[in-house]
């Protein structure tokens, strides 16, 4: 069923009796050409693009819980293409271009809102870094604008401009960045994939791989054995747990990242802002809640809940940037598990096992990457070669020294 304004009006006049479920609930078949493990944003996007762009039809997505219940439903919904390094920025620009056409492409309202992202700067050195980053973005086809303090004041007059320690000196504005209704991304991809024959199998946990003579032949699941031509793993924070079943140790640690939403407010924050002197970023959802977050908690965790120190730290950062936040009540806080890699950048690559492919290590930046990660992973699964924008995301880059370390922190995941 295609969705349209006409359809909404027609259903309104006929008692809303014509709506059908957005995807089927099929029984797993004994064999598929492609099995994608993980029914999150990336896994569903991979299946969608495999079907739509690469002409495949015998595809299954296996999800241990319900689709969209992991990080695609836990993030702070921001999309952007403002990376610095060559290995990254073309990929994120590709992703942002896909976001721009996504709703028409999959016929679903994902509320893509390019409301602009402003990275504030507080020192001369930060301004230099922002100028360099902006130039790198523009060179890769993205957009960037360096604002002086008056430019920032016009957009956000209520910020703490004259803080004695961290005065606001300006900011790097990325107008095409913005926010997306994150659950709708998972649902839109799921529906689009299902319409093209992809089996989305929920409550189906992968318990092992069948690997013979260095080739992956299928997966053992809680709903029986499923054979596969190729298996793609796309499970975010659970990457190490799943790949361990194939005997692999990954260059990553799982960390918990918290996010927060305030009570609903009238429109106050038109875009996304990030604080340059502390780790705090914030936007306002269409329901009115301020959505914000900061650092990961900093220790390995699979708990999907965090501790008080980061909540305090984020609140302090928020109030020092936006003093008015002191009057706002926190509504909810939650955590998601990040597969933090050793250089802060992801992996989309084959493994040493034939027929087994991996997409992960997205750290806390996986949501914005969803369309391109799905596309590039589908490209790899179909053609056995990396997509042009994802050639740097290799497993062996750590051993060969070709790391993509945006922050220059070295091999310690909790510092990225």
């Amino acid at each position: 069923m295609r969705y349209s304004g006409f359809k909404v009006i027609k259903e309104a006049l006929t008692g809303h009796k014509g709506w059908t479920p957005q995807w089927r609930d099929p029984e797993p078949q004994s064999h598929y050409d492609f099995v994608i493990i993980g029914g999150g944003g990336h896994g569903l996007a991979t299946a969608y693009y495999l079907a739509k762009e690469f002409g495949e039809s015998r595809i299954a997505v296996l999800e241990k819980g319900w689709i969209g219940g992991g990080n695609v439903g836990r993030n702070t919904t921001i999309i952007r293409s403002n990376y610095l390094l060559d290995g990254n920025e073309p990929f994120y620009e590709f992703s942002l271009k896909l976001w721009e056409g996504l709703e028409q492409d999959f016929n679903y309202n994902a509320m893509v809102s390019q409301r602009g992202i402003l990275n504030l700067v507080h020192t001369d050195a930060q301004r230099d870094a922002a100028r360099r980053r902006g130039n790198a973005m523009i060179l890769n086809g993205s957009d960037a604008e360096l604002l002086d303090v008056e430019g920032v004041r016009k957009l956000y007059p209520f910020l703490n401009f004259d803080n004695a320690r961290f005065p606001i000196k300006g900011g790097l504005l990325h107008r095409r960045g913005g926010t997306v209704r994150h659950d709708a991304v998972a649902w839109g991809y799921a529906r689009g994939a299902d319409m093209r024959g992809v089996d989305i199998i929920q409550n189906c946990e992968v318990t092992g791989f069948k690997i013979e003579d260095g080739t992956c032949l299928g997966v053992e699941t809680t709903r029986g054995y499923i054979g596969a031509g190729k298996v793609g793993v796309s499970v975010a924070g659970s990457s190490s747990r799943v790949m361990e079943k194939a005997g692999m140790r990954l260059p990553m640690e799982s960390h918990v990242l918290q996010a927060f939403v305030s009570e609903g407010l009238k429109p106050v924050l038109p875009g996304v802002i990030t604080y340059g002197a502390g780790h705090f970023y914030c936007s306002q959802s269409d329901k009115g809640g301020l959505v914000f977050g900061g650092d990961i908690d900093g220790y390995n965790s699979y708990a999907q809940r965090g501790n008080m120190p980061v909540i305090e730290d984020v609140a302090e950062g928020g109030i020092s940037l936006i003093p008015a936040l002191g009057r706002v009540r926190l509504l909810r806080a939650w955590g998601g598990i990040m597969d933090m890699s050793m250089d802060g950048s992801p992996i989309i690559d084959k493994t040493h096992i034939d027929g087994l492919y991996f997409n992960g290590g997205w750290c806390y930046g996986g949501f914005k990457a969803t369309p391109a990660a799905g596309w590039c992973f589908a490209h790899l699964l179909k053609t056995d070669t990396p997509h042009d924008t994802a050639t740097a995301y290799r497993f062996d880059r750590f051993r060969t020294g070709h790391m993509i370390d945006e922050k220059g922190q070295g091999a310690q995941p909790n510092l990225h």
Binding site: S238, R249, P251, E253, A303, P309, F398, R399, A411, N414
Partner: protein, 90 residues
């Protein structure tokens, strides 16, 4: 989360710096080769459940500690001085 430093007693997590898995105590030999060093520097077990990692009581006695804890429940089973653990490995 509270960690019981063997020297200072139970303290708030804020006093401790986190380094990562306690594999740092098992460095390969300098001439072990790039495969061993790559594995040591980059690859991790990253278990869901019981793990041992290195913390430093940065805002206390500065001792390096091996903390055995659960990554799913955040329960802490035990804390030892890294110095003693390292001696025990020899």
């Amino acid at each position: 989360m509270r960690i019981k430093c063997p020297l200072c007693g139970e303290r708030d997590r804020r006093e401790f710096y986190y380094k990562g898995a306690a594999i740092d105590l098992a460095r390969p030999a300098p001439d072990a080769g790039d495969v061993a060093w790559d594995d040591y520097i980059h690859n991790r077990e990253n278990p869901a459940g019981r793990t041992k990692d290195l913390w430093q009581h940065e805002m206390g006695c500065s001792a390096w500690l091996v903390v055995e804890r659960n990554t799913v429940t955040h329960e802490i089973y035990g804390v030892e001085l890294a110095e003693n653990v390292k001696r025990g490995m020899k």
